[in-house]
Subunit: 458 residues, 3 copies
């Protein structure tokens, strides 16, 4: 089933080892332990051990880590013959991206005497950046080789860091949970890549582009983990104290409300009043995406719930009505429907963030304003201008993502990366040694066959 | 396979959206951030950031959250054709219940100037209340529509909050891990509901009321997560410091001892000396249930182990001998055997709690008495009277659960909620769009078929 | 399928209950709450609640717990017909081992007035010791009865505690993540046991000693959880502050680098340039094993990455080339390839630890030296001598493991423990009641059969 072009015997080892060697050299030259991870620096001053950043953020980091590796990985196992690749390529590109992101984000977030300082916060940020790459992976799932995915990751991580720098540092926007930097960026980047990689004859693999009973259950493992730990995701790098606490809670209510809206919308739109697993697996998560920017703000619990309901509604409607149009009219083949889970809810989250920022007041935030909107707190700008910053950030993100995706799409089209042919998409066996089905089935079939043959011979 | 009565196209969206809109309105009117989540209130005073309740309880909250959504959800996937509904309806009713519980518990736990204050502790409590609903779900699994389940949740959450208020506030009982409030209540409520919903012709669906190889493995995901995180569950809302620490450890030893007892009892009672997955999946958890009340007390490690062993023994015996009797004689069709996992071990836990409380002394607790039994510590009552309180609380819980289950059972019998017919219970396809099995099987079968047909034609 | 010898009706209950009763008695006599879990002791002094060890270590403990029960349990479900036993026996022997380890480690770690004091740190240590037993389980997977496994655990836990005492206390070695105490010990112990239990006719069960599509996906759940939480494993009992923080980060980078190396090596060595699930499931974890000793030291991020790359390379090469040789020449039937995942990477980790310790200097560690190498910090020894200690510790561990495995292997050969016959290895149904496959398959087969029969009759 493999021809020379898709054979990975040389291509994959070469790119893996070259990338890893480059990473090791750059880490050797550029990267140092930060104040909280370095034995000497930490012990140079006296402080309480529980002031180490580790205790504020490591549990959240591990929740984010689960979302990246189990959440994204298993969410994509819904395809009947692509479970190894979904979990396995997710694992590979995440393991690369988090190393590369440490360098790129470290470079843009500010060097310390020519060195990048790392600790738990940089680990979380690297996982976040990886999340954007995995979102884009969802659009091209089943249609790309692991080499293509690594090449995509190299460029996407780099551009992510640039965009993040522009938004958070240059423009002074707030986006703790990444409605813009992660979801909007990852989604529109991936959509543009898959547009450029358009396959007119993908219908030849269409029979494999669907789920089976057990693959849908594996995918639910991914869904539920993403859903449960999204409060940790959005709050992982917000300020200590009330900020982390509030962000987690806002996200929790947004997701709960989104789930009810998703079930309602799925039943009303789906065939024969039955629930559609695609909606449950994906749209129920849109509430987390949409609370990514405003989650740390004083969004209020009921505000969070309204955001969640809106996100669930537009996400289900997107799966039902918009995705077929995007594929037919705009030639965007979006395997996982990332436009519905990350794209539109990400834009919604950005807008909600802009509005919530614009109406911020000291009456509501008190001295806590300094954590959430420091420029407003110290009088540099009005809250309404913070809203403008947020809106500009959305526009910048959309432009960066679409432009970057366009260029990277064409790079991935180069016929040297071992992309699968149209007839063997959504199929593990092109890149993996795949075992047979359970012997029992085979035995039973053989038994049936033998019994019939015997009868025929008589 | 769906007839008009079970069609969810209108019923499910209507109840989902009405409930969610009511929730949003009530949250808008009644709910506020508490001191630790509100930007203004938190920053009004000076304190160390790591005194925020978030850092004491959020990791435990996430463990509890995993138990509710992965633990309960996957534990119920053991049925061969009910995996979508097990995980999916668990997801739906939990997402609703946690919102509704925030309001009901907030109302009874004490309003602040007409407002309900929320933070991580209320999130944990809401998840706890949700747990009781999911226990009841286990009794009616496979025999109820999602609309019935939501209606059940509305009433059960409300009554849970009343019962919890009576026990913890009015009676002054202690029940940190909810042997009474969660397990006993959820179990007997659910058992009474399933009694009222008795289906004399359920045997028509009996061939689907069993597991297959892979469905049992999915269920083990649920089992293991519940088992691992039960120490977090029981300790999630106990007092800071030694109390959380001790409760987690007591539960850990109770569960470990329960597991050995379960394996021993399973082999001795099961057919041909072989282990029964039903026992392993369920009875091994009974040690967590039974340590729910006394876990925070000075139960001692070996005391915890004795409790765990007893819980494992009665749970396996219940599955083996009592469940068939309950079904045949009392017409209680208990799909998951919640009486064995939550009912009897919950009652055991309540009794252990009453005895442990009655023998509490300052010799053992020192100044720590104030955390565990404040009324004993400040001299209002004797320890023995605390034991009486605990025993009364068990009786109250049983009465509330059975009475409430009776009423709610009759409400759920109303023929408007789309319950499945007797012939299509334990079957996903009545409420879900279900994909086929793997194409390979089909292909193989088709190939066999074609080969035989060819031979026949010759 | 069961004959009298493998029947567990009496053997398993007897050993389970005898062991549990002994445990309860010994716990009753010997075990007490420690300072941080005892109500009286904790409240005897004034301190901040968040100084309780619980808040420093409980989140890490839960991550370790997930690795032990989900990670090891599901990693071993890759076999097509051994999922119940993989998860289920893992569960049983872990539940026993953690109790027994509490006693054995407590005895060697220092009694307090004749009592063993327990808290979250002893819980972590007990889980660690359990990990070693589960590693050995991997070597004999599919070829042992649950009674044999419990007997093995009794002896292995005991010897583990002796070896750990010799290394950490008598020799003063450092091994926070257990490259030596856990991985090297568990691996070589298990390899020697499986050598003694050599089955010349195991090929009679060879058709079941392989994976199927879904079993490989279940195994990936185990792999990913082990991979994600390994940073918590290695850092769980290091000193507070920078030490826990640094250890987690070093492990994170070692694993990420190891993953790229594993994918590269798998493609270059495997058949036809395709990736091999065995490599991905196992070798990608070797980076965590190899960072077990040096992870807490100032290994530097790029040093960690080099260690990870080396571990991944030797692990894949081991699976590809060394395992067949071990089986053919040395008669070591290593079901899970623990020599490749734990054995060689464990030795590598020990060597890396010795070298890193030998070059430690106050220039690099500052006052933090006291946390990592207390004897070097207070001037008792030179850093180079610490390196020697580490090297001696490796030799001691190898000797203890091989000697202990030899003895225990012969004990397990006693024909009273119900070991499976050569023809029924790697098969759940010998110890478990196993349900059939999905009825639909049966129905389809029956339908095919019926259709053909009808035609034949015409």
């Amino acid at each position: 089933m493999t021809d020379a072009a898709t054979n990975m015997r040389l291509k994959l080892p070469i790119i893996c080892f070259i990338l890893q060697i480059i990473l090791i050299i750059l880490f050797g030259v550029l990267v140092e332990y930060d104040h909280d991870t370095d034995a000497k620096k930490w012990h140079n001053e006296s402080h309480s051990e529980n002031d180490n950043e580790f205790y504020y953020r490591y549990p959240s980091f591990q929740d984010v880590h689960v979302m990246i590796f189990i959440g994204f990985g298993f969410l994509m196992t819904f395809l009947q013959r692509y479970g190894f690749s979904s979990v396995g390529f997710n694992f590979l590109i995440a393991a690369f991206s988090l190393q590369w992101a440490t360098l790129m984000q470290g470079f843009f977030h500010g060097m310390h005497g020519g060195k990048i300082h790392i600790g738990v916060e940089s680990m979380i940020n690297a996982d976040f950046c990886t999340g954007a790459v995995l979102i884009s992976f969802g659009a091209v799932l089943g249609k790309t080789s692991p080499v293509q995915l690594l090449v995509m990751a190299i460029f996407e991580v780099t551009l992510f860091a640039v965009n993040e720098f522009v938004l958070l540092t240059a423009l002074g926007a707030k986006d703790a949970g990444g409605s813009m930097t992660i979801h909007t960026f990852g989604a529109y980047f991936g959509l543009m890549v898959t547009r450029v990689l358009y396959r007119p004859n993908l219908n030849k693999s269409q029979h494999r582009n669907s789920s089976v009973y057990h693959s849908d259950l594996f995918a639910m493992i991914g869904t539920i983990y993403l859903w449960m730990f999204w409060p940790s995701f959005n709050s992982a790098i917000t300020a200590h104290g009330d900020d982390q606490h509030r962000t987690a809670m806002n996200t929790y209510y947004s997701l709960a409300a989104c789930t009810l809206a998703t079930y309602g919308m799925s039943a009303v739109t789906a065939h024969d009043g039955k629930l559609d697993m695609v909606h449950i697996q994906n749209a129920a998560l849109a509430g987390g995406v949409a609370a990514g920017t405003a989650g740390e703000m004083m969004l209020t619990p009921y505000g969070s719930m309204i955001v969640g309901v809106l996100a669930g509604i537009i996400s289900v409607l997107g799966y039902k009505y918009l995705s077929p149009i995007l594929e037919d009219k705009l030639k965007i083949q979006d395997t996982c429907g990332i436009h519905n889970l990350h794209g539109m809810p990400g834009v919604l989250g950005a807008i909600v963030g802009a509005v919530t920022a614009a109406v911020a007041s000291t009456d509501v935030y008190g001295k806590g304003m300094a954590d959430v909107f420091p420029d407003v707190a110290n009088g540099d700008i009005e809250a309404s201008y913070q809203g403008v910053r947020q809106a500009i950030s959305l526009a910048v993100t959309l432009g960066m993502a679409l432009g970057g995706g366009l260029v990277v799409g064409f790079i991935l089209k180069l016929p040297v990366f071992g992309a699968p042919p149209d007839t063997i998409c959504f199929e593990d066996s092109i890149y993996w040694e795949v075992p047979g089905e359970e012997e029992d089935h085979g035995e039973q079939l053989t038994a049936v066959h033998a019994a019939e043959a015997e009868k025929l011979n008589n």
